[in-house]
Amino acid sequence: MASVTLESWTMDNMVGNVVEWLKKTICLLILFILPGIANAAYNFNFPEPVTPIARETLHIHNEFMLIITILFVVVFAIMIYSMIKHRKSIGHQPASFSGPRSALQWLWVLIPFAILLFIDFVLMGIPAVKAIITMEDTKNRADMVLKVTGMQWKWQYEYPEAGIKFISTLATPRDQITNAEAKGEHYLLEVDKPVVLPVGRKVRILLTSTDVIHTWWVPQFGVKRDAIPGFLRETWVLIEKPGTYRGQCAELCGKDHGFMPVVVHAVPEPEYLAWLEQQKAEAKAAAGGADRTWSSEELMAAGKEVYEKQCVACHQASGQGLPPAFPALAGSKVVNAPLLDMNGKIVKDSHVDRVMNGKPGTAMQAFRNTLSNVELAAVITYERNSFGNRRGDMIQPAQIKALR
């Protein structure tokens, strides 16, 4: 459930919404702002750090904040002193100097300059360089690798050594987003399948993207790195404390940029290994399904599930899409064309081709690498027999496997 689009958007309900909003605003002002100011739990700094980098970053941040606060206070204290003492209204006579004239005055000019030089390149510069070198040290003594792939608008996590991968999408119900029901504690920061990492292990994180640039950010890790299509970027974390850590995509990546959270479960290593085994078993079970023949009811049921997770953000629950950017599937020429050619091969720009290989230059991504044979077969079958499309045909997971 990643879609947050409000259907049936018309001028009428826009006006209605504005009126509703104004009412709420006034109520809120009275109910919440006044007592709220006193009670709210404000955050004035970074959240609690749980990795060495985050601790280092917080330390640097606090130190810099102190330095610039001192600079600010000293400089503007001098200015405010002058504004009080050197006023025309109290009869102060203006001086006429326009530059340093004596050795002492030159000293006054050069001392702040020297202090700033020292602050920039020594006081701030040296810890910064040290931190950069630590931050970029992704290769030494890494215990494991996690590959993170950003895609509109979800994250795929892959554990290359264990051979498992899965997609993680927003789990907040749409009714919460449209204010139809009360918002949960982790509103917008909850996913269907969090990524699990062991504590006390150095995890090398490789990042890439399948479409546009995304940024993977967990504030408590002190890590923020762009996921760039066609390139690998890397960073690392060493989580010191078990817990659930939440973050978000930080680079504008299209309409649901605000709705692709990152949730990391950090657990002790034995628990992590048990989880890994369980995932492997599940993946194996799922792969086995590709070889048997599926009934059309089974494919439709599985396809609905995949559709609601992967496709609904753009093509909508109704299959009407959001044209022109996101075309409708209902009555679509692509969906309602023959499935494969007479030799059982993919027809270019056909339904199967679109789903497997995407459409370059648009948000339609290639699902061949992110979905399994079963999922691909199911979702294609589902789309051809839903939203008023009545092709009556289906494609088997085994056929998809052969087409790869």
Partner: protein, 532 residues
Amino acid sequence: MSSVTTTHPVEQHAEYHPGGLLRWLTTTNHKDIGTMYMTFALIMFFVGGIMILAVRAELFQPGLQLMKPEFFNQLIGVHALVMIFAALMPAATGFANWMIPLMIGAPDMALPRLNNWGFWLLPPAAFLLTLPFSLALLGFGDGAIATGWTFYAPLSVQGGWGVDFAILAVHILGISSIMGSINIIVTIFNMRAPGMTMMKLPLFAWGWLITAFLLIATLPVLAGAVTMLLTDRHFGTHFFDAAGGGDPILFQHLFWFFGHPEVYILLLPVWGLMPHVLSTFSRKPVYGYKAQVYSFIAIGILSVVVWAHHFFTAGMPIPALIYFMFSTMAISLPLAVLFFCWIATMWKGAMSFETPMLFAVGFIVLFGIAGLTGLILADVAADAQYHHSYFVVAHFHYALFAGGIMGVMTGVYYWLPKWTGHMYNETLGKLHFWLTVISFNLTFIPQFFLGLAGMPRRIPDYALQFAEFNAISTIGAFILGLSQLLFAWNVWACVRGGKKAESRSWEGAEGLEWELPSPPPHHTWEIQPQIK
């Protein structure tokens, strides 16, 4: 600095103008064109302001209340493009047109017809930029550019026709800015009054001179980048597509090679103006004239070699990170010289605090916050937390609203008596100042905390922990927006009438512009003054 040895009687010309709209369409007079630039900037300031108030209204509470995320994305990007290219830059060019000829004793700008053309390119460009909104309402297309003002590929390759409109608009705005810059450079180099050497040039003209060179150096790079984007979108090239051998990060390099100097393009005219105002209301000469000139030049040069600090999180080699960090920090040195000179100009003066002086002091303090937060943003390690977050949003609004817009307001209040021949309403001006400063801080201080707590920028909806600060920020933004109506009213009232302004509208004002009557006649300095 400079003084006039012989004052010539200013001749009044009874000359022919076409009437009505035709006068403004065909004018080649620097004052008329300056007025048009300023008026256009004021209108677009409100257009961009309304857009961002809609955004702030949406962000008042968690959840989606007023708009779809797609529309939200369009508003934030067009807000930035309008404010930067259609409000701040034209306002600065308006100042240049009005004041540079008056201040350097030139009869007009060197290239008056180019000047007219440069202005009249702006309205069509602004129209193009905002047209997709109206087309979408009528059911054509999917609205304006939704990539933020940064056009990052591949999101912009994927986008709807709003991107094409924006590319075309940026091209036209760029041509206009380059023509304006050429005009200013030619005017300053060739048309100074006899005896006005470069080191007697008013600092405002110096600031603009550096801006003009930066525009000519960097705008073609932006034009190239967006043209490459256009060919990627429509003509099958792959500059920014890895699958075709391109690189999305190339776009960021090209964009910020323009984008970082752009910050100084917006600020240098304001830095040039500050010493005039501070010196006037301190009744004391400008401190450190030469130091300020050299700082302008140093900042101009440094500004084109620091661009990659805008995308540290994109990943780059360690030597590059360290280089871009230290070169960015180095900008703090010439900037500190400017701060020193501003405060030293006030030191031991006889200060009075009319509205322009209030805005100047407000500018120094708030722009100080922008500079200091900029210094820590340069730090690569800490930047990993600040970047792409509301901390950055707050930082650059301190630079561009408190630095840019409040700087422009300083200049407007300072020179309004000269332009209109009337004094504006001082009480209203002071009220405008205090409302602006308080509500500005109410808007943006919470955003620093939001960023530190981990709220990414450019999101239409947010987690519950960010609710209080967003609510406060929205309230601040609405007060800030509404108080600008006072400004518009005050300017309008001052144009229409008011207390008669003297030639030297301010007691401590120095410079050639104050030797002329207020308002100055249509043609001035036809006989150039002699500078000792």
